[in-house]
Symmetry: none
């Protein structure tokens, strides 16, 4: 099977959007052993889209498209595919019903233009899109397979993983070959240092060990192929043990776990609760913790104490601490953590105070200086960090370090 | 001038590297008014590279390539260009000398394979690369221009800015067309409804009017081309007025503005302050507001009242309101907003309470039901929303609607 990817969208050619979808799909194809020989990007232009489709089909037997599935007149992908390969688009009653329900649930009027999204290929079928209105579509016509996915990555990625990959594996007859992957999630170490520690393990061919970034967070993906699941799984487990010998101190979780999900799980397991006192992170830690379904059982809330008045009045930070040592100090962090624990009556109080920049820094307290603390019934532990990067980077790194401090304290790893 | 970009590198097709170069070059071309109609990615494969070059030259008169300029046998870009378009590669004495100096400075032995990097087109010239060993190369042959740039962005970007853009601007000479763009940022309306309201304006060819998504937020981009900046700008302004007649109620800002930056700006302009009381958004609104540099002048902080206890103790929501009407009710939202305003002493108190799911919903109060309120010296305004999507979607949509409610209240648009 030889594949090409066709990315559709004028916003790509104007450089407004980086085409991360093309990389995501490329990696998925590589993992299945599908040979990808070309990627093409065209704008929302009928003639160029038709030309790109016909020329891709002259070389490849699998074409994956992203973009152009929306309701606007600009969205031409499906109709151009039908025209290029002599197929027809037919309204799918189930897709139309799903669309109507989607709009009804939101109380938004169902625009006539939206019906276009329920059109599927006569020689094909639809792919469910749980995160948007545009379903995907597959056309199977003689030796050619065309798979249409929507452009927004948050819609595209789940559809790729849950529908496209299983479909292609069946087509490839790889039901026989089993692939097992495991992610090791890291905190407290950079990507290049982690890669150095893993060393020659990354040269292994089966299982493979590859560094992967999730946002700013480094991970390792271990992938094994074998004739059966048990063998693949034990190959992954054996390699995981070898990787953990080298970088185990930095592994906080695996696969879909996040630092926030691990914190919530550990709190629940121990029937403990937490609250946050955030200054420079401005609510980001609370936002991350509450992204976890069911977090309300153990995360009771927080105080965003952006001003000194709020630090005093709601968190009980002493005026002298603020005036003599400053809002960005280890003492303020400690008092904030103790204060939010007292105020909310939680087992743990987690605090962060720092300078996110770009203004507000000095020689003594530069941008990126961040203090954090955890208070519990055994006392208070603190950490000092000096982060680099933009304001959002510093906020993100602060939230990561703070959640890790709380995690280590819950696990009894720091006294 | 019609351009195509050709990205060369097997690592791109394996999905190991995201092709940010293509976007960077796309944006530079758009800013010069050069029409980019296609981007193609191929691996380090002679036949496919030759085919891609010939086919690009059949459509375009400017081809920009990235990658494949290194010293290894995999690096084929220049020799394929010479072969495809009947040119010759000749060792450039100056480029060879620069290379030898580069290696001598680093004390690295000068491998014979490195001489390949000093080869330039007979019908062309080199482009200096201050950050690496591979110089760029330009071929000018009849009506065709081919520009070769290295793959690493830290080498490519300075060469694009310092050599390629000035060269192309000269080539475009008097014909240089100026491009001006403006984004209209929308809130409170979906992409498809916005597109329907904009109607046939989206068919205009110059200026163009195109819907663009930023995350989940719809926008319109208006782009005009003209012979000079003043004309292009007035064309954009005229089209903007026409678009605003139709969808002006939903336009909250332009270009790089975000809902949070507009809220911070409007507060600062009026010397007013705000605080937040967040339940289901868990800190996201505070996080968004504090992403804006300097927000600490007007955003004093907030209370994340995830539990009912916190709603009572820190926000002063009455126990009867919670027990009789529930935490997710318009009355609780109103008391939260008034409570945080009182507690923090801010001009405005903004509150959100709702059910982010996936659990916790009922027939009467389904997942996605969210109430929000703004309290100020004139009283309290409230809104009820029913959102769809995943838990993160509902949080994001809630934060968007809440920031918009605050914005409208500050602007005096709701009483």
């Amino acid at each position: 099977m030889q594949a090409e990817i066709l990315s559709v969208g004028t916003e790509l050619l104007l450089g407004d959007t980086i085409d991360t979808n093309a990389s995501t799909i490329s990696r998925a194809l590589a993992e299945m052993g599908v040979s990808l020989t070309r990627r093409v990007t065209v704008g929302d232009n009928r003639e160029r889209l038709l030309d790109a489709l016909r020329s891709a089909a002259s070389r490849a037997d699998l074409i994956l498209t992203t973009g152009g599935l929306g309701p606007t007149p600009d969205d031409l992908t499906k109709e151009c595919i039908a025209e290029a390969f002599g197929d027809r688009l037919i309204e799918d009653p189930q897709a139309a019903e799903t669309l109507r329900e989607f709009f009804a649930r939101r109380g938004i009027p169902f625009a006539q233009s939206n019906r276009k999204q329920a059109l599927l290929f006569e020689s094909g079928f639809g792919l469910p899109n749980p995160n948007g209105t545009a379903p995907g579509a597959v056309m199977e016509k003689e030796r050619l397979i065309v798979i249409c996915l929507p452009g927004p990555p948050r819609e595209m990625i789940p559809m790729l993983e849950n529908s496209v990959v299983p479909y292609l594996r069946r087509k490839l007859g790889q039901d026989a070959q089993v692939l097992r992957s495991r992610f090791l999630r890291l905190v407290g170490i950079g990507e290049s240092s982690a890669s150095e520690l893993a060393g020659e393990l990354q040269e292994s061919e089966n299982p493979t060990v590859a560094p992967v970034l999730r946002g700013m967070e480094p991970s390792f993906r271990i992938t094994a192929r074998a004739s059966d699941a048990a063998t693949a799984e034990s190959m992954v487990a054996e390699m995981e043990a070898r990787v953990r010998v080298r970088i185990g101190d930095y592994v906080y979780g695996t696969d879909d776990e996040t630092l926030e999900s691990v914190v919530i799980d550990e709190l629940r397991r121990r029937q403990r609760t937490a609250g946050t006192a955030e200054s420079c992170t401005g609510g980001l830690i609370g936002h991350r913790l509450t992204n976890i379904a069911g977090s309300s059982d153990v995360f009771l809330g927080g105080i965003v104490s952006y001003s000194n008045d709020v630090k005093e009045s709601l968190l009980g930070v002493r005026a002298e601490t603020l005036s003599l040592l400053g809002a960005v100090s280890v003492e303020t962090a400690a008092e904030m953590a103790a204060g939010v624990r007292r105020s909310l009556g939680t087992s743990y109080g987690l605090s962060v105070t720092g300078i996110a920049g770009p203004g507000g820094g000095s020689a003594e307290k530069p941008v990126g200086l961040v203090f954090m603390a955890v208070a519990d019934d055994r006392g208070t532990v603190t950490e000092r960090h000096q982060f680099g990067g933009s304001r959002p980077d510093i906020k993100q790194r602060s939230s990561q370090a703070a959640l890790n401090l709380l995690r280590k304290r819950i696990l009894g790893k720091i006294e």
